[in-house]
């Protein structure tokens, strides 16, 4: 199978025009010693029909996260309206290039401008970029901005920030960019730290990885009083329907993951990171920015702007090496939020909170289980288990339930902790099912057969 349109006659014509007898002659500049001279060892080619059958078989070996899923931990299953895929599968969005030629890309550009606007309005910030790889790298980008802005070297990062995000940050800063220090948790929430004069940024996540709602105002104030930037990460923008906009309580940079508003779980990607800032940090922003302008006839239009920050102009002096945005994912988010509006987003948030509140109370009544923290939460909470959570999860998976996320690997102090998430898609019956299976599993010793 291939998608080549050239007939034998086309090929002969092209070779004649080029003036070579065969296509192999076009590769004459490659030293013979380097040429492969054999077939690649790849699986045999498949027809479209056979390919779909093969992929269908692979897909069927995965258990879908449905209503019986209580997994969150940075990837959230919310309702996605049909129209999102209708729009993102349109050829003109799907197969368009980066909008460098503005006159041929007004659709993409305006959609990004609308995305930027929505992110600003959700977060309460002045400016937002066209999106970055994911929530984890968005936090890293925010920290790199803070390091450059303050010319300081230390970063205080809450232990409540997503473990993957903290790991990405360490990877990036290990190359000599700065020092990461962890802010401990108390009762599942970030202690307000002493911020020294060498601190560039204080990074917290709201709600944090354990589902707890942080004291945003106190943490931001602690950062700003010491001349550091307050970085607030948000891993589920749905929460911003009910939780205060970080811009309103003093955040300098707000960043995070927008997957929960419009994208399927997708085994973790592609997702879409967002990054928003105060106006005075604009010129330190990485990635693409779309601005409003006009043409010679006074017609309104949109274009990529402030490109002097970017790698294709500045090379090694660029504010970042980023050369893309998650265009189609950002489009999905924009369509989704446009369909929901403030009312729909609030309903999504309230539904998630209600399900989680119910599950929290119900699961804590299962004999042997208890809540790890008494503090307020949004749609996730930590359940302490009488048996190793990893074992319980395997047992639940055999019964078709994805019971949550075992915290022991990332939080040894919570080795008995199971992070449970509910959204507006969770029903009472699903929670009851989980409660009953947990009860059964701890009564009978778990046999892991998988």
């Amino acid at each position: 199978m291939s998608y080549l349109p050239h007939t034998q006659a086309d090929r002969e014509h092209m070779l004649e025009v080029v003036g070579v007898p065969s296509v192999e002659d076009l590769f004459a500049s490659i030293p013979p010693t380097l040429r492969l001279g054999r077939d690649l060892c790849l699986p045999e080619a498949l027809t479209e029909h056979d390919l779909l059958e093969h992929l269908g078989q692979m897909a069927s070996r995965n258990q879908e996260a449905t209503r019986s899923s209580f997994l969150g931990a940075g990837a959230y299953r919310h309702f996605v309206p049909t129209l999102v895929e209708t729009v993102t599968s349109r050829s003109e969005f799907l197969t368009a290039y980066t909008p460098y030629q503005a006159e041929a890309s007004q659709g993409t550009l305006q959609a990004i401008f609308e995305f930027q606007t929505m992110i600003c309005r959700l977060t309460g910030m002045d400016v937002a970029n066209a999106s970055v790889y994911d929530g984890g790298t968005a936090v890293t980008d925010a920290v790199l901005m803070a390091l450059a802005q303050t010319r300081r070297s230390k970063v205080l990062v809450s232990r409540g920030v997503h473990p993957h995000t903290r790991e990405i940050l360490s990877t990036y800063l290990a190359a000599g960019g700065g020092v990461v220090e962890e802010i401990p948790l108390h009762e599942g929430r970030t202690e307000v730290p002493q911020v020294g004069a060498d601190v560039a940024a204080v990074v917290v996540q709201v709600p944090n990885f354990l589902g707890q709602v942080e004291d945003g105002p106190a943490l931001c104030q602690a950062a700003r009083q010491a001349g550091a930037l307050a970085v607030v990460a948000v891993n589920d923008p749905v929460s911003l329907a009910v939780l205060e906009a970080p811009g309103a309580y003093g955040a300098d940079l707000v960043c995070g993951e927008a997957q929960p508003v419009g994208l399927p779980l997708s085994f973790g990607g592609p997702y879409v990171g967002f990054l928003a800032a105060r106006k005075d940090l604009l010129r330190r922003m990485p990635g693409r920015l779309v601005g409003l302008t006009a043409d010679g006839q006074g017609r309104r239009g949109f274009c990529l702007t402030l490109q002097a920050r970017e790698q294709h102009i500045r090379r090694e002096k660029a504010s970042s090496n980023i050369c893309s945005n998650q265009g189609l994912c950002a489009l999905a988010v924009t369509v989704h939020l446009a369909l929901l509006g403030p009312e729909g987003l609030r309903r999504c948030a309230l539904g998630s909170m209600s399900s989680a509140a119910f599950a929290r109370e119900r699961l804590a009544r299962v004999p042997g289980f208890s809540l790890a923290f008494s503090g307020a939460g949004f749609h996730e909470f930590v359940l302490r288990c009488p048996a190793p959570p990893e074992q319980l999860l395997e047992g639940l998976a055999e019964r078709g339930i994805l019971g949550g996320y075992a915290l022991g690997r990332d939080y040894p102090e919570l080795a008995d902790g199971l992070l449970v998430c509910c959204t507006e898609l969770t029903r009472r019956q699903d929670v009851e099912g989980l409660a009953l299976e947990l009860e059964a599993l701890v009564q009978a010793p778990v046999e892991v057969t998988r």
Partner: protein
């Protein structure tokens, strides 16, 4: 001001509703009952309020303002805008791939892990590397990943190597990534044939050089014929050789980076392996490594234990560069593409891409200046410098006029070493008729009255936009 399409915010009407999410049957709670007062949202976010038809019509109309591969020819050099097969899209929407959670037990995602493992193997074979990570989300992300690996590798060896060499024809991401990874960037000039100037390379190679980043074929579309010597020089100096895989579409099944002496590779799945560009992303930039460097790849990667697939971090891993496993659904599409072609199919793709580029080069070189002569690989670079000198017509004028002829512009003003550059890459999926029509448009505009070119485009929803104004007084969000 005249507008082609009002923004969502202008169309919004208080109280209008689109789609509503489902209601849970759990007892309702109110935020005030559960959240601390200081954290309660005071005013709801001012998202637009629209009906479902409003939203659909808005975005459908916006889409119609775009060029795309499905509607127009994109001869964009270095971007490989080939056809994006629809069966790959179908594959990515299979619920067994799109509706699985990245943190569910590995025993419940064996199909996904098997696919990733198989793709890792395929990419390793295509590049001649020993191991691949699928984590990086884009080419530039792959570059920085590899540079972090290089940095840690030399740190472990106790060698202080602070400099990264890049040719002056390199992609801007190369020096930007090297700087971000903490290296000092040294630019190596090109020789008269467009290759790496070996004398200049020798002069800069010493024990402070960590690596040379190279694109081959180069951004001029020329195969770096001195690659064997370059590789020995870099290795003799104790440095590493990094392959920017942006131009891999020229070489599949013909030459492998590993066999050329490269130690690390990134690929762009959204170029060579046909995953759609999506107006700027998502893409994917897997990184391959060999030898000792394999142990430094970001973790976790997928490994095979008999019949079971699981994930683990390499022994000396630099750690994660992104959350979860990378852009999985992009990997699904690339895997589908590779499985559609097989070994022979991929080789034919590269051969056809190179033949198409040479055909266009030969038919255009009499009409435009071709600074670097000779057989090209999958792309070539023309210059509008003669047009500029004779008639004041610049590369940007050519680009804008092409839009009027119904073609996307080539890549312009890159590589930087070619004045008024027009970088053209037809890819293998364009027909002879399409290429001929483009060639005809280029020949026609080269003879047109300069004012027509300066005034172009005339047929688009907007004319040339005032970018200076956009940057001077940035309006990046619709005012509340």
């Amino acid at each position: 001001m005249k507008t082609c399409e009002s923004t969502l915010f202008e169309k919004s009407r208080p109280g209008r509703r689109g789609t509503m999410p489902p209601e849970t049957d759990c007892p309702k709670v109110q935020p005030e009952e559960l959240l601390p007062a200081a954290m309660l949202r005071q005013a709801p976010p001012t998202l637009p309020e629209l009906s479902e038809l409003d939203v659909l019509r808005h975005f459908t109309r916006l889409s119609q303002l775009n060029f795309s591969v499905d509607t127009h020819f994109y001869p964009l050099g270095s971007c490989t805008m080939k056809y994006n097969p629809r069966v790959n899209e179908k594959a990515a929407t299979l619920p067994g791939f799109s509706a699985i959670h990245p943190l569910q037990p590995e025993s419940t995602a064996q199909g996904a892990l098997a696919l990733m493992h198989s793709l890792q193997d395929c990419l390793a074979e295509i590049t001649g590397m020993e191991a691949i990570t699928l984590q990086p989300s884009a080419g530039a992300h792959g570059e920085i990943t590899a540079l972090f690996m290089i940095s840690r590798y030399f740190q472990d060896k106790g060698e202080k190597r602070t400099r990264v060499l890049v040719p002056d024809s390199s992609h801007g991401t190369n020096p930007a990534s090297a700087a971000l990874a903490g290296f000092e960037v040294v630019t190596i000039p090109s020789n008269a044939q467009g290759g790496v100037d070996l004398e200049a390379l020798r002069a800069h190679l010493d024990s402070s050089v960590a690596c040379l980043m190279l694109t081959n074929p180069s951004t001029l579309g020329l195969f770096e014929t001195g690659i064997e010597e370059i590789a020995s020089l870099v290795h003799e100096a104790g440095g590493l050789l990094y392959y920017d895989g942006a131009n891999m579409n020229a070489l599949m099944g013909l030459v492998r980076p590993g066999d050329m002496g490269f130690d690390l590779v990134h690929l762009n799945l959204h170029k060579t392996f046909s995953t759609p560009h999506g107006g700027g992303g998502p893409g994917a930039g897997p990184v391959g490594a060999r030898g000792e460097l394999v142990h430094y790849l970001p973790g976790p990667r997928v490994v095979r234990d008999g019949e079971i697939f699981r994930t683990e971090a390499p022994r000396k891993s630099i750690g994660r560069v992104r959350t979860f496993w990378g852009n999985f659904l992009v990997a699904v599409r690339a895997y589908a593409y590779i499985r559609t072609h097989g070994s022979q199919g991929l080789r034919e793709v590269s051969q056809a891409a190179v033949l198409a580029a040479n055909y266009m080069r030969v038919r255009l070189q009499g009409h435009f200046d071709l600074p670097y002569q000779g057989t090209c690989m999958h792309e070539f670079v023309l210059s509008a410098r003669n047009l500029k000198a004779a008639r004041g017509v610049r590369a940007t004028d050519v680009a804008k006029r092409l839009l009027d002829f119904g073609f996307h512009a080539p890549t312009i003003y890159f590589p930087l070493i070619v004045e008024e550059a027009l970088m053209i890459e037809p890819t293998e999926t364009e027909s002879l008729e399409t290429m001929d029509a483009f060639i005809e448009a280029m020949r026609t505009l080269a003879e047109e009255d300069p004012q027509t070119l300066h005034d172009a485009p005339q047929t688009r929803p907007v004319g040339r936009l005032d970018e200076t104004q956009a940057a001077r007084k940035p309006v990046l969000a619709w005012p509340e």
